[in-house]
């Protein structure tokens, strides 16, 4: 088992180098001059521009820039962004906010998606099942930004149940509405996946065995049907973490959440290479670790694919 985890962690290195290299190159190849953009319409002194270029190593060739970035990364010095603020401090400020948002969204889709899927599966063909199926289809069909703006308007502005924008006071409470929007589409997928899986397992022979043993219905459902149905759902949730972080850009934009998505969006507009790559690197790390955790969870859920052989 430990060997497996180590092997998986070692795989992080090529993945990490590959992604950062790719992102770094894409930022490098972006048209426009980031330094000139800093000054807007003003005409800065060419000497100032040259000094700034040198300060951010923008006059160096690509490989040197990338090498410097890697070197800084391993000395835990992410450098400053173009406005002179240390990138590490910025990340420290924005990541907790997005983490809160993502965790809330994950809980919404995980807990409620699985619960609704389980009930729908057990009542296959009944009213609850049909309603939930149609509703989930509607949710999947509507783009997140439409849903976001509509909920912002109705729940936030007209009903006044939640703050329409989050602004500077991000907390579990104020992030609830954005998290709901962020998690809603995946919630629908988790629900459908759980439902399909429950329906498949409901008629499995071992469920009949469990019933024949004299187990009560709740025990059969929770210990034998649900546990076995979680296997595909766990995989989906892990892979979905990436979509959650990507989706955060739109959702954070709509609700003005001071999180990673917003920061990343600003950095892209300003062609701020170091900031973009720093954020993406953290994304990659989270994604890889989350997938490792999912694979371990997978092995725990399904002993047939234990890795320690």
């Amino acid at each position: 088992m430990i060997q497996y985890v180590l092997r998986r962690l070692l795989q992080v290195i090529p993945v990490f180098v590959g992604t950062t290299l790719l992102v770094y190159y894409m930022v490098f190849a972006l048209p426009g001059d980031p330094i000139a953009a800093l000054f807007g319409d003003r005409q800065p002194n060419p000497a100032v521009i040259a000094a700034l270029r040198q300060q951010y190593h923008l006059d160096e060739p690509f490989w040197v820039q990338y090498g410097l970035f890697l070197k800084n990364l391993f000395t835990f010095n992410l450098g400053n962004d173009f406005t002179g603020q240390p990138i590490a401090a910025t990340l420290g400020r924005v990541f907790p906010v997005t983490a809160m948002l993502a965790i809330e969204a994950l809980v919404i889709q995980g807990v409620f998606g699985v619960a609704a899927g389980l009930f729908a599966g057990l009542r296959k063909g009944k009213l609850f099942d049909s309603t939930v199926l149609i509703a989930s289809l509607v949710v999947i069909a509507i783009p997140t930004f439409v849903l976001g703006f509509v909920l912002q308007l109705v729940v936030g502005v007209q009903l006044g149940w939640a703050k329409p924008t989050v602004g500077s006071d991000a907390s579990w409470g104020t992030l609830l509405l954005p998290a709901f929007v962020l998690g809603l589409v995946s919630f629908a997928y988790v629900l459908r996946l759980t439902r399909a899986s429950v329906i498949e397992n409901m008629n499995a022979d071992y469920v009949r065995t469990a019933t024949a043993k004299g187990l009560s219905r709740p025990r059969v459902v929770l210990a034998h049907i649900l546990r076995n149905s979680m296997i595909p759902v766990a995989t989906y949730l892990g892979a979905n973490l990436g979509a959650l972080m990507g989706g955060a850009i739109v959702t954070e934009g709509i609700f003005n959440v001071p999180g990673v998505g917003q920061k990343l969006y600003q950095a892209i507009l300003r062609s701020e290479g170091p900031t973009i790559v720093a954020i993406v690197s953290v994304f990659v790390l989270i994604f890889v670790v989350a997938n490792l955790l999912v694979d371990l969870l997978y092995a725990w859920l399904d002993p047939r694919i234990r890795y320690d052989k």
């Binding site: 499995a204 071992y206 065995t209 024949a212 004299g214 002993p303």
Partner: protein, 624 residues
């Protein structure tokens, strides 16, 4: 431990070896146990498209303690549905009426909580597929402990101790290891033992065994049947055995109920049913069961396999008079000497020389050598039966002969062409395949569900460019005639046909290119016995008429006995013994062949008793 043995059980622990003589317990002085299960007028209907379709109608039977009642029937007879109805285990679209009394207490119409307390405690069930009947995500031990703790007020440690004792009782080699194993880590037979251990963990008064050995190999089946017989004697439970296999019935049953289309057509003791069946259906069913040793024709008379085995192993049987046995052994020897085997005629159609076959490596999974050093020759017009248990490599040889698996070593010649070299030459393989027809095991999945069967049959001829247009249609009709299907079936789709009809289509397709070699991979094992008998007869007639050579792969020795001129016995990737039907059945030399022959249950209670004794002796000498 004794605190969770129900009051009507004897005070001593029945699980303690030797603590209980066979037949004690609930059995009365007259030798008959008290009635445990009494079924009156039991009917089961299923709601299909807003109509009630009867699955079982007005069943009446009872089972006594220490007695095995076998409910026999073919698929669709309602034997399983009616038995699942006893415990309310049917899906929600079903309706059950009548009366089911367990030790005098009515079960039907009982509320859910009461039924639950009966399930697993008073009535336990063993299912057909040990593979899927245990939950794959929990250890065997955890599942037994769950059952024990559900019905008994015991601590986890006590429950674990109990589970370990049950695993020991069902003769698992390493109970502690089995306790910690997940179902997929055990073999099929071990899994079924674990399943039985779980079923017996709460001392049930009644055990319902739904095809308990159908998914197992014959030698494993024989072990499980022995186990169930021992347990029946030790625990004195009543057993309802649901099966389609007359051999299993003959081995275990005291009384038999024959079901057909939802009705019990005949009940009686095992002796009555086997020796003096009254109902025409029972007679037909018994006639259709292939009987190892009785597959012969006039030219090759029946083989007394028991005598043959006794002679080969120098066994003495208590159940057979010594003189009698000697006479039977002599008869057998004389028949072997008199047997005329047709000499090989013409060039071999299939020739394997020191062949090894591998499943190529896939990613991290290394290559697996499934067959090693196989030598086998089939001459024109010969039928060679390739028998073995699961994992023996018999199907692998069949697949390689058609070029579906590469030959790793040795040479394999098909109709004169060396196909071990042909793997690099697709064209040559393509040519060779024209001379081979293949019939697969599962007729449902080997026919394209979206093609009318006429097209399925005609496709090989069309692809080979042999015929098209009106000529093709004519040949399709001719093939349908040959397999005795109506011509207008050509426009039907596979789902509109029965299993036997589908397999006829499979045979027609395999025959369409007039093959010199036919490879048949378990073509009848998915069929009911009466259907199997008809398909085998058809196959035999076609083989005689068309004269193709055939490699017949099967696990069923009785089927091979009916068809084959020569028999090859495989074990763990090697051909351990081969010879003519008479040589193998009358004078088996290898210990494995002997064990395999002895494990095949005979559909006759007396003969099966002899066979059982012989098998016990074989196993006893084999382990020394």
């Amino acid at each position: 431990m004794s605190d969770y043995i129900s009051p009507d059980r004897p005070a001593s622990d029945p699980l303690e070896p030797g603590s209980m003589e066979p037949g004690s317990g609930r059995r009365r002085a007259d030798g008959k146990g008290s009635v445990v299960l009494e079924v009156r007028d039991l009917s089961v209907d299923f709601g299909v498209e807003k109509k009630w379709v009867p699955a079982a109608v007005g069943l009446n039977y009872e089972v006594r303690a220490g007695e095995v009642l076998a409910i026999v029937g073919e698929s669709g007879s309602g034997k399983s549905a009616s038995s699942m109805a006893l415990l309310g285990l049917l899906p929600s679209n079903s309706r059950v009426s009548g009366s089911v009394r367990l030790s005098g207490k009515e079960l039907l119409g009982e509320d859910a909580a009461n039924i639950r307390s009966v399930r697993g405690k008073d009535v336990a069930v063993i299912f057909q597929e040990p593979m899927t009947a245990l939950n794959p995500v929990y250890t065997v031990g955890a599942q037994i402990v769950e059952t024990v703790r559900l019905h008994n007020e015991v601590s986890p440690d006590q429950a674990k101790e109990r589970a370990l004792r049950m695993l020991e009782l069902v003769e698992l080699p390493d109970p502690v290891k089995a306790f910690k194993s997940y179902p997929h880590q055990l073999s099929g037979g071990q899994r079924q033992r674990a399943m039985i251990a779980q079923s017996l963990s709460c001392d049930p008064k009644l055990l319902i065994a739904d095809e308990p050995t159908t998914a197992l190999d014959v030698t494993v089946q024989a072990e499980i049947l022995d186990l169930m017989r021992n347990l029946r004697n030790k625990l004195d439970s009543a057993i309802v055995l649901i099966t389609h296999d007359m051999g299993v019935v003959a081995d275990l049953a005291d009384r038999i109920a024959v079901m057909r289309k939802g009705l019990i057509v005949e009940t009686g003791t095992a002796e009555q049913i086997f020796h003096n069946p009254q109902h025409p259906y029972t007679q037909a069913l018994l006639a259709a069961v292939p009987h190892l040793g009785q597959g012969g024709t006039d030219a090759a008379p029946d083989v007394d396999v028991t005598a043959a085995l006794a002679a080969a192993t120098h066994a003495e049987l208590d159940s057979v008079d010594h003189e009698e046995l000697v006479r039977r052994e002599r008869e057998n020897a004389a028949a072997l000497a008199a047997a005329v085997s047709r000499g090989p005629v013409g060039e071999p159609v299939l020739e394997l020389t020191d062949v090894a076959i591998e499943y190529p490596k896939q990613g991290r999974v290394p290559a697996f050598r499934a067959v090693e050093g196989a030598n086998l020759t089939i001459h024109p017009g010969q039928v060679v039966g390739l028998v073995g248990e699961s994992g023996s490599g018999k199907t692998t040889i069949g697949r390689a002969a058609v070029g579906l698996l590469p030959v790793a070593a040795g040479t394999m010649r098909v109709v004169g062409e060396d196909i071990s070299a042909a793997k690099k030459n697709g064209k040559q393989l393509h040519q060779v395949r024209r001379h081979i027809g293949m019939v697969f095991q599962d007729p449902s999945s080997s026919l394209n569900p979206r093609l009318p069967i006429g097209e399925s049959i005609g496709e090989p001829m069309y692809l080979a460019g042999v015929a098209k247009g009106a000529d093709l249609q004519k040949r399709i009709e001719a093939l349908l005639d040959q397999v005795e299907l109506p011509r207008n079936y050509r426009n039907r789709y596979p789902h509109e046909l029965s299993g036997g009809q589908k397999q006829r289509v499979g045979i027609a397709r395999a025959l369409s290119l007039k093959p010199k070699l036919m490879v048949a991979d378990e073509p009848t094992s998915a069929l009911d016995v009466s259907v199997q008998a008809k398909v085998l007869e058809l196959f035999q007639n076609l083989q005689r008429e068309l004269g193709f050579a055939c490699l017949f792969v099967t696990h069923d020795l009785a089927v091979v006995d009916v068809l084959a001129d020569r028999i090859c016995v495989m074990q763990r990737g090697r051909i351990v013994e081969q010879g003519t039907r008479d040589q193998i059945l009358r004078n088996p030399q290898e210990a494995y062949t002997q064990r395999l022959l002895a494990a095949v249950p005979l559909p006759d209670p007396e003969k099966q008793r002899e066979r059982r004794e012989l098998r016990a002796q074989l196993l006893a000498t084999g382990t020394e």
